[in-house]
């Protein structure tokens, strides 16, 4: 911390020193670049953190710039002009949030369609700006925009832009360090999984898009008085595309990378374009560059994209990691609040009745009927292809039911979204462990912890990253590697991932836990550990578990009640002995060496 504070100061000093060190010229050149950099930071948040690509950032930049320009001309000038910052920043932010919400609602993906929608929007924005002469001044632009108070000469403009950039970077660092940043990164790796921890992924992504809108608004607010002119090109596709390119070059994943990219490419372009005037033999070169600088810049970012997937910032990854370690304060946990479960507490009553699922002509579930009504461990067994995992997928509505219904505590939950189910206290562990490989162990557990405890707004409070629960403490005792907070989940062994995923599922403290082969591929010791943990969870948390398992020895050991499935329907149920004695079951297991 101490270190990074010092570095913050260093950065601020450096930025503020530019005019005195490098002179007016650089001050002015950089001041425009800084404004672009602020807008680029927004792209970084959406793309580098939340994992979706906005191709229309220019639209919000343009909108804000026109608002700011019109405001300064018609509403308030001079000192009062500064008050315009409020609406000019808020409006694009809110607009972006709403658009994001509308587009993302009811989806757990952000494929190319989102990028194209924003692209189409920015093309529209350009047309409106060009055609709406009376308001925007049309193609020639909105001219004679007065300066803001204290923005008269180049140096002032620079300082204002510089301070703005510092604020914007700080804003991004805060978001990225805050819980919401962690959740965004988790979301970008496995959106479906995030939903099962009770997050509304649409809202999360909309929030990122909204934050990007705020940043664009901030940049636009300063652009108008800085240039005294706003033209449609600002809202156009080329600007939007450049912002994306700069973010990629600088490093979309880091807080400061996008700004770095904007500054580097911005400076590079200007220098190649206007660098001439040395005289001597260089003139021919500069004449060439004056015409072909675009090609050089294009070549530059192709190379960065090919060889530096994390952009320029990626180069500093190691350094930075070690620096962080130097500066880290000891972890001081605080007790997390209890889970906010909707509906009845205590053991859940889950009832599937007559569930039919078919994909094409394939019958997956064939009138399945199950009842769980006490805090116990229910095992779901049956030959491969009997429909065990499909039962889980039906519960979590990834498979659409043609017939039948699912009730929780008497209330119909068939067709409810994953996050609703999680909110009702249903947790799930997937067959293939789906931890978030790019996050640390601590962050993986936190994501699970916050999902059912924190509201979206409180995800902005850094203190949430210190949350801890007795349950987690116990899990750390049972599985010591969980205490290695900063290990990256991607580096864990298969077994450790299985355990981590189970720990995450438990950390959410659900009332009903769906476990799909929690011991698959585990060593005997690990298996032992996992089983003990599950048994313990049942005792301590009064947890109801529905567990898919092939290993009969495990089933014998832990099952309070066994469901045997065959060809998508319930074949038999009862305690282990009863089931094993059942002829129908033996019949099914013919050939399976029963």
């Amino acid at each position: 911390m101490v270190y990074s504070r010092a570095i913050d100061i260093l950065l601020i000093v450096a930025v503020l020193a530019v005019p005195t060190v490098l002179g007016d010229l650089w001050a002015y050149n950089l001041s425009l670049v800084y404004l672009y950099a602020i807008a680029t930071l927004g792209v970084g948040l959406c793309w580098g953190q939340a994992g979706f690509l906005p191709l229309g950032q220019g639209m919000f930049l343009g909108l804000a710039a026109y608002m700011s320009g019109l405001g300064l001309i018609h509403v308030a000038g001079g000192v009062w002009g500064w008050l315009l910052v409020v609406p000019v920043v808020i409006v694009p932010g809110v607009l972006a949030f709403v658009i994001g919400l509308l587009i993302f609602r009811g989806r757990t993906e952000s494929g190319p369609f989102f990028a194209l929608i924003t692209l189409a929007m920015t093309l529209l924005a350009f047309q409106i700006a060009t055609a709406w002469n009376s308001v925007t001044g049309g193609f020639n632009g909105l001219r004679n925009i007065p300066d803001l108070a204290g923005m008269s000469d180049f140096t002032d403009r620079y300082y204002i832009a510089g301070v703005a950039l510092i604020l914007a970077v700080a804003f991004c660092m805060w978001l990225i360090e805050a819980p919401i940043g962690v959740v965004w990164r988790a979301l970008s790796q496995n959106e479906r999984r995030i939903a099962f921890f009770g997050y509304s992924t649409a809202t999360l992504k909309a929030a990122a898009f909204g934050a990007a809108g705020l940043l664009a608004g901030f940049a636009g607010f300063l652009y108008a008085p800085q240039q005294n002119l706003v033209t449609p090109t600002l809202a156009g596709f080329v600007v939007s595309a450049n912002l994306v390119i700069w973010a990629a070059v600088g490093g979309r994943g880091s807080a400061i990378g996008p700004a770095l990219g904007a500054v580097l490419v911005g400076v590079l372009s200007t220098e190649l374009r206007d660098g001439g005037g040395f005289g001597g033999g260089l003139d021919a070169l500069w004449d060439f560059l004056a015409r072909f600088w675009e090609a050089v810049v294009a070549g530059f970012f192709i190379i960065v994209v090919l060889f530096l997937p994390n952009g320029i910032a990626g180069l500093f990854a190691k350094l930075n990691a070690s620096l962080k370690r130097l500066g880290r304060l000891p972890f001081r946990p605080i007790l997390a609040p209890p889970v906010r479960t909707e509906g009845a507490a205590g053991p859940p009553a889950l009832a599937l009745s007559g569930c039919r699922v078919a994909a094409g002509e394939v019958r997956i579930l064939n009138g399945l009927t199950l009842r769980l009504d006490r805090a116990a461990i229910y095992c779901l067994i049956g030959p491969n292809g009997a429909g065990k995992t499909s039962t889980f997928n039906t519960l979590s509505t990834e498979l659409r039911m043609q017939e039948g219904e699912i009730r929780l505590d008497g209330e119909v939950i068939s067709g409810a979204a994953a996050d609703t189910l999680a909110a009702k206290g249903i947790g799930r562990k997937f067959q293939i462990p789906s931890v978030f490989p790019n996050l640390t162990i601590a962050d993986n557990l936190h994501v699970a912890l916050w999902g059912t405890r924190a509201r979206l707004v409180s995800l902005l409070r850094p203190s949430l990253r210190r949350w801890d629960t007795p349950l987690l403490a116990t899990l750390r005792e049972r599985f010591p590697f969980l205490a290695q907070r900063d290990r990256i989940a991607g580096d864990l062994s298969h077994g450790e991932r299985q355990v981590l995923e189970l720990a995450m599922a438990l950390a959410a403290e659900p009332r009903l836990l769906l476990l799909d082969e929690p011991c698959a591929g585990l060593s005997h010791e690990d298996t032992r550990q996992v089983i003990d943990a599950i048994l313990w969870a049942r005792e301590e948390l009064g947890l109801t578990v529905l567990l898919i398992e092939h290993d009969m020895s495990l089933v014998r050991e832990i099952a309070d009640h066994v469901f045997v499935m065959h060809q998508g329907a319930l074949l038999a149920e009862g305690d282990v002995a009863a089931v094993q004695a059942d002829d129908k079951v033996r019949e099914v297991y013919v050939g399976m060496a029963s």
């Binding site: 047309q127 675009e294 090609a295 294009a298 970012f301």
Partner: protein, 284 residues
Amino acid sequence: MDPLIVAQTLNFAYAVISLLLVVLGLAVTLGWLGVMNLAHGEFVMLGAYVAVVTERMGWPFWAAIPLTILFCIVLGIVVERLLIRPLYSRPFDLLLATWGLSILIRKIVEAAFGGGYISLTVPVKGSLDILGASYPTYRILIMAFTVALLAMLLAWYFRSSAAARVKAMVGNPMLAQAVGIDTNALARNTFVVGTCLAGLAGVIIAPVTSVNPFLGLDYVINAFFVIIVGGLGSVLGLFAGSGIIGGLDSFVSAILDRTSAFFLVLLIAIFFLWLRPRGLFARN
């Protein structure tokens, strides 16, 4: 029948079919391979310049067709190897890299041919009389050519096992290898086919457009809308997409004006992408 209506109907057909022509290449690279190739427009543009070279050489216009295919094979192989293959797993980065490529190609062409507009003599002059409306013969030929090309492609697509192998590779790469398909080579060849189709389109439209380094920009964005709105890798989607994007533009231009048409196309595109993000006829 009112010749105005006939002519505008022909315009409608021409708009849809000519858009189809320039989109075909992208339908292969993006639709089959999932390669978001922003340089598609520049491949079309390069095809047009092949036609220019052919004319300057004094060769007959049609000679440009084999020439552009040769040229595009080389181009496709080089681009796939250097730019596309390393990025298959990073679609968004691929988008950026090809955007960079498109700028490079534009500037290279500018350096080679200058930035000026080049006009080609229309290979087939005059116009045909159709239900009382006279329509330029060459545009009729473009439509005929496209339909023929399309028919060939579809025949190939549905018959030849090559098309089936591409589908197999895209749908299930691991099993594709399991049956012994060299996925690297197949992906490269598919990309090359896409490149050739783009170049071919460039040659065909060259005489009826303004050949200049920025030619490609006119097409690439609409091409993307067509593919995504229609649905990746779906033949029906390709038709639907061209119909919606090209047809709507032509229809509204005919009954209202170009500005409304432009706005409407964008709005409709947004609308479809919003409600059907996987496209109208997505491959399931």
